[in-house]
């Protein structure tokens, strides 16, 4: 590779992980442990909130969780027309977990704690989970016949496009997140090459921006998950649009109330 010598000179590691082999399979050790830590942080935040949950005197951590749950519930209601018992927890878990994982990027840990979302293994896993859920949901909503039929709408000639769209969904979902966080890490590494007296200013600016990117990416991932589920229940063809319009008054009513 052309970049190899350049990168070696600059001492930047890109897409390289501390690996170990188990049962003849390669595992990225750093991604795994930072995933475990991110998972523990999320669960810890959850149980911290749970330990002091109160309906009359909510703590700050509870208010943060409540704001998230409320936002996700409203989004799911307006996209699916009802509160789905699987989609709501999925979107919440995705948002919190991705947010925590993204913000690992900001911790100056000398590659000890890399952001797990900067590894495609995590983003592929999340996207696969989401898209499998979406297809199962789609079959349940429309029946197997309706599910197969929606690939041939509005016209059978659209089948290749519909198929590609369905295939592209998980890939874009995974690579969008990966690309953003991965690029953030590279930017930090490049800024790290600056002399120490010039380093702090761009470093602070970029980390603030990276924090924002991490939030936005977590938000987009969760929102797109909900939107994909919404499309799976109504479809986005002409017929589906009519369905959507017919289902529209319901969330509006619930929101007005």
């Amino acid at each position: 590779m052309i970049g190899d010598s350049l990168l070696a000179e600059a001492e930047i590691e890109i897409g390289e992980h501390k690996t170990f082999t188990f049962l003849n399979m390669t595992f990225n050790a750093d991604t795994i442990w930072s995933t475990v830590i991110a998972g523990l942080v999320v669960i810890g935040l959850g149980f911290w909130m749970r330990s002091k949950v109160s309906s009359t005197n909510p703590s700050k951590i509870q208010l943060m969780w409540e704001a998230l749950v409320d936002w996700v519930t409203v989004q799911v209601e307006s996209n699916l027309g009802r509160v789905h018992p699987f989609v709501v927890p999925l979107a919440i878990a995705l948002f919190v977990f991705i947010l925590v994982a993204n913000w690992f990027e900001l911790i100056p840990s000398q590659h000890l704690l890399p952001s797990p979302t900067a590894d495609v293994n995590l983003t592929y896993a999340l996207a696969l989970l989401v898209i499998v859920g979406v297809h199962i949901f789609s079959v349940r909503e429309r029946g197997l016949k309706g599910y197969v039929k929606h690939y041939f709408q509005p016209h059978p000639a659209m089948f290749p496009l519909n198929l590609i769209e369905e295939l592209v969904k998980p890939i874009t979902l995974a690579l969008r997140l990966f690309g953003n966080i991965f690029a953030g890490g590279i930017m930090l590494a490049i800024i790290g090459l600056l002399p120490i007296w010039a380093l702090w200013f761009p470093n602070v600016i970029w980390k603030l921006f990276d924090m924002f990117i991490g939030l936005i990416q977590a938000f987009i991932f969760a929102l797109l998950t909900i939107v994909y589920f919404g499309m799976a229940s109504a479809g986005h063809s002409a017929a589906g649009d009519e369905h959507e319009r017919a289902a529209d008054p319901q969330p509006e009513l619930s929101e007005a109330h």
Binding site: I14, E16, I32, T35, G39, T56, E66, V69, A93, N121
Partner: protein, 185 residues
């Protein structure tokens, strides 16, 4: 530096880490869905319920206050009507009393007037009678003394007195007539 061979150097190709990540996230999802989200939802609905209840109580209190105010206003109006009615009644009664008193006073006045005139008539008659009996004696006495002759003669005496009385009568009738006309006026 970790060891990496060329085949694995493409960072877009996943390796076995994928399965670990899948499992890890599924675990996070399960824990959140089972242990974290239900209490949040419970607290949220409870708080919303509480707020809704507070609003209901507020509405009820407002309705109560409005009802009380309406009652107060209607009572006020009623009291005003009552007061006006009583005032009107009092005015009517007052007017009636005044009329009665006036009638009574007029009756009293006319009674007093009638009594007074009757008494005056009686007194005049009495005086006249007295005069009649005394004037004759007095006059003959005086006249006898003056003329020196006795007027003891019964016939003359009577004649003289009668003439005098007749004159006096004519005079007193004139006086009486003028007196009554003055009173009538």
């Amino acid at each position: 530096m970790p060891t990496t061979n060329l085949a694995e150097s493409n960072f877009l190709v996943p390796n076995a880490t994928f399965f670990v990540e899948l499992f890890a996230f599924a675990l996070v999802l399960l824990v959140l869905a089972r242990y974290v989200i239900p209490p949040i939802n419970k607290a949220l609905t409870e708080r919303q319920e509480g707020i809704r209840r507070q609003f209901e109580e507020l509405e009820a209190a407002k309705a109560d206050a409005e009802a009380a105010e309406n009652q107060y206003r209607s009572q006020l109006v009623e009291a005003r009507h009552e007061a006006a009615r009583i005032r009107e009644e009092a005015r009517e009664q007052g007017a009636q009393i005044v009329v009665e008193m006036r009638e009574q006073a007029q009756a009293e006045a006319s009674r007093i007037t009638a009594a007074a005139s009757a008494q005056m008539d009686a007194e005049r008659q009495q005086v006249l009678a007295q005069l009649k009996s005394e004037v004759g004696t007095l006059a003959t006495d005086l006249a006898g003394r003056i003329v020196g002759e006795s007027l003891e003669d019964e016939a003359r005496k009577r004649r003289t007195v009668d003439r005098f009385i007749a004159e006096l009568d004519g005079h007193s009738v004139e006086v009486e007539q003028s007196g009554t006309s003055m009173r009538q006026r």
